[in-house]
């Protein structure tokens, strides 16, 4: 902890005089700033994707795991009778917390995205739907199917297992992809900053020779370059992060009828997570520059 504090103090307080020994170099400075800003911008989206996918997987997992649907596929005259019979069966089924038939309006709302709002359910052979909410321990789906086939032949139970698992798996994969993207972005930042630091160290071989002549240790020389690149990466990443957050903020807001993409973003405390991006970028820059400086100073003996 003390080492970390010393490191941060050295980085951000630094020695003003020592900072001046490395000449300002336009190309590597701009490259580092631009790379850090661009990568931080992308990292915000990768993070938003990952967090949104995580929320989606959790929501789908929780909601679908505790609900089932019963379809009553019967001619008009028998549909109401069959529905009541099915509800009676459900009332006496262990593990069913509640069950209710969807109203015409609710069923119409479900069809509206596909057929528009001006259709009448009477014109379509639409089955009646019963929403079943499971109790904590759940019910025996196989046993319920047997009872329904005996007592309500027009009823078909769908406990969602068929399509719930692939959906949750897909959301989890998407979340994983988001994290993989963040790792790749960090690796790309490290590679670019290593290249920029190498270029700066090579361009300043004369400066290094002078510093060594007057008694500078390699640690001192490396620190001067590390400080320079770490602060640049931090500033670039902060700019990119702010731009990324603004872009996410400007995405269309999520609505009931909207799809997954409109839910891409941050919610509540997760808005604070992107604040870690500049710190991560600075950390990556510090390690990359230290690595580059060590190799370059070794080569410039």
């Amino acid at each position: 902890m003390r080492q970390l504090r010393t490191l941060l103090q050295n980085l951000f307080a630094g020695d003003k005089q020592a900072d001046r020994i490395v000449p300002p170099s336009g190309f590597t400075a701009q490259l580092t700033l631009f790379a850090a800003a661009a990568m931080a911008f992308l990292a915000v989206f990768a993070l938003a994707l990952s967090l949104a996918s995580g929320r989606l997987a959790t929501r789908w997992g929780d909601e679908l795991a505790r609900t089932s649907t019963i379809r009553i596929v019967a001619p008009d005259g028998q549909r109401a009778t069959q529905t009541e019979a099915a509800l009676r069966v459900l009332q006496t089924t262990a593990g069913v917390q509640s069950a209710r038939a969807l109203t015409d309006d609710e069923q119409q709302a479900l069809l509206t995205p596909w057929f528009g709002g001006n259709i009448s359910l009477d014109d379509l052979p639409v089955p009646r739907l019963i929403e079943v909410i499971e109790a904590e321990n759940g019910f025996d789906a196989a046993g319920l199917r047997l009872r329904l086939s005996a007592e309500v032949p027009a009823a078909f139970l769908d406990d969602h297992t068929r399509w719930r698992a692939p959906l949750v798996q897909a959301a989890n994969r998407l979340r994983l992809l988001g994290w993989v993207a963040i790792v790749l972005i960090a690796a790309a930042v490290a590679a670019i900053i290593t290249l920029a630091a190498n270029a700066a160290l090579s361009a300043n071989a004369q400066v290094i020779a002078v510093l060594r002549l007057v008694g500078a240790t390699d640690h001192y020389i490396a620190d001067a370059f590390i400080r320079r690149f770490t602060i640049r990466a931090f500033l670039g990443a902060t700019t990119g992060m702010i731009a990324g957050l603004l872009a996410v903020l400007l995405l269309p807001s999520a609505a009931d009828e909207a799809g997954f993409l409109t839910g891409l973003g941050f919610q509540g405390a997760s808005w604070l997570v992107p604040l870690l991006i500049p710190i991560l970028a600075a950390g990556v820059a510090l390690i990359a520059t230290r690595f580059a400086a060590r190799k370059a100073l070794e080569a410039l003996r």
């Binding site: 020592a18 002078v210 510093l211 002549l213 008694g215 240790t217 390699d218």
Partner: protein
């Protein structure tokens, strides 16, 4: 202080120095002469750890140079002031900052240093050039700035490689006078040069010893100089 014992140095397959034994006594004044390419600069670099001998021993302040890591070498260089013929500065920093560079890299501030930076610049006649950038200096001014930088840490030894190589006669006399003053302050001074008039002038003022590199070896020169 600085001692070379049976030192050899090879470069590019050929031996540049062979069986060189030199011991710099504290407070002494030395000249190192020899034709161009004889190995004067190489010998000086061996004296401050910039090069490692291929054979023999170089002892810097009682430490064998082979046993020193790069940080140790950096510490040694704080005790040895070096003036190069091709004086190297940080061109983006003004003269005053360049002169104070040894203090900066050792974590000391100019105000806390032994010799006052202002006095030092005055001593080498560069007070009015303190804020100039190195590329704006003349050859003589650069050499004087390098000398000021070499002594700002109050080193025990000052090594100068052809310090008068790029300056006119008047300036070379002025630089020599500064080096003689340093010697009178108790510093060991070693000047690599092939300027015999410089050696004659110095010998008229101090007990200067002349080392000559000839056929890869270093010999104490006779009174013919």
């Amino acid at each position: 202080m600085i001692e070379l014992e049976n030192v050899a140095y090879s470069y590019g397959g050929g031996e540049l120095l062979s069986d060189v034994s030199v011991k710099l006594a504290p407070g002494s004044f030395y000249f190192l002469t020899g034709p161009s390419g004889a190995g004067k600069t190489t010998l000086l670099k061996l004296c401050y750890g910039a090069l490692l001998p291929t054979a023999g021993h170089v002892r810097l302040f009682d430490n064998d140079v082979r046993g020193l890591n790069r940080d140790d070498i950096a510490m040694v260089r704080r005790k040895v002031g070096v003036v190069h013929q091709d004086v190297q500065f940080l061109d983006h920093l003004p003269v005053a900052d360049n002169v104070a560079l040894p203090l900066t890299v050792s974590g000391r501030h100019a105000e806390a240093a032994g010799p006052d930076l202002g006095e030092l610049l005055s001593w080498v006649g560069l007070t009015n050039r303190a804020h100039a950038l190195p590329p704006e200096l003349s050859g003589g001014e650069r050499q004087r700035a390098a000398l000021a930088r070499a002594v700002i840490m109050s080193p025990d030894v000052v090594l100068a490689d052809e310090p008068t190589g790029n300056v006119d006669w008047e300036m070379s006399q002025r630089l020599l006078r500064l080096l003689l003053e340093l010697n009178k302050m108790g510093k060991t001074v070693l000047i690599a040069t092939h300027d015999l008039s410089l050696i004659r002038t110095a010998k008229s003022e101090v007990q200067a010893r002349v080392l000559r590199i000839s056929n890869r070896r270093v010999q104490l020169a006779g009174a013919d100089l």
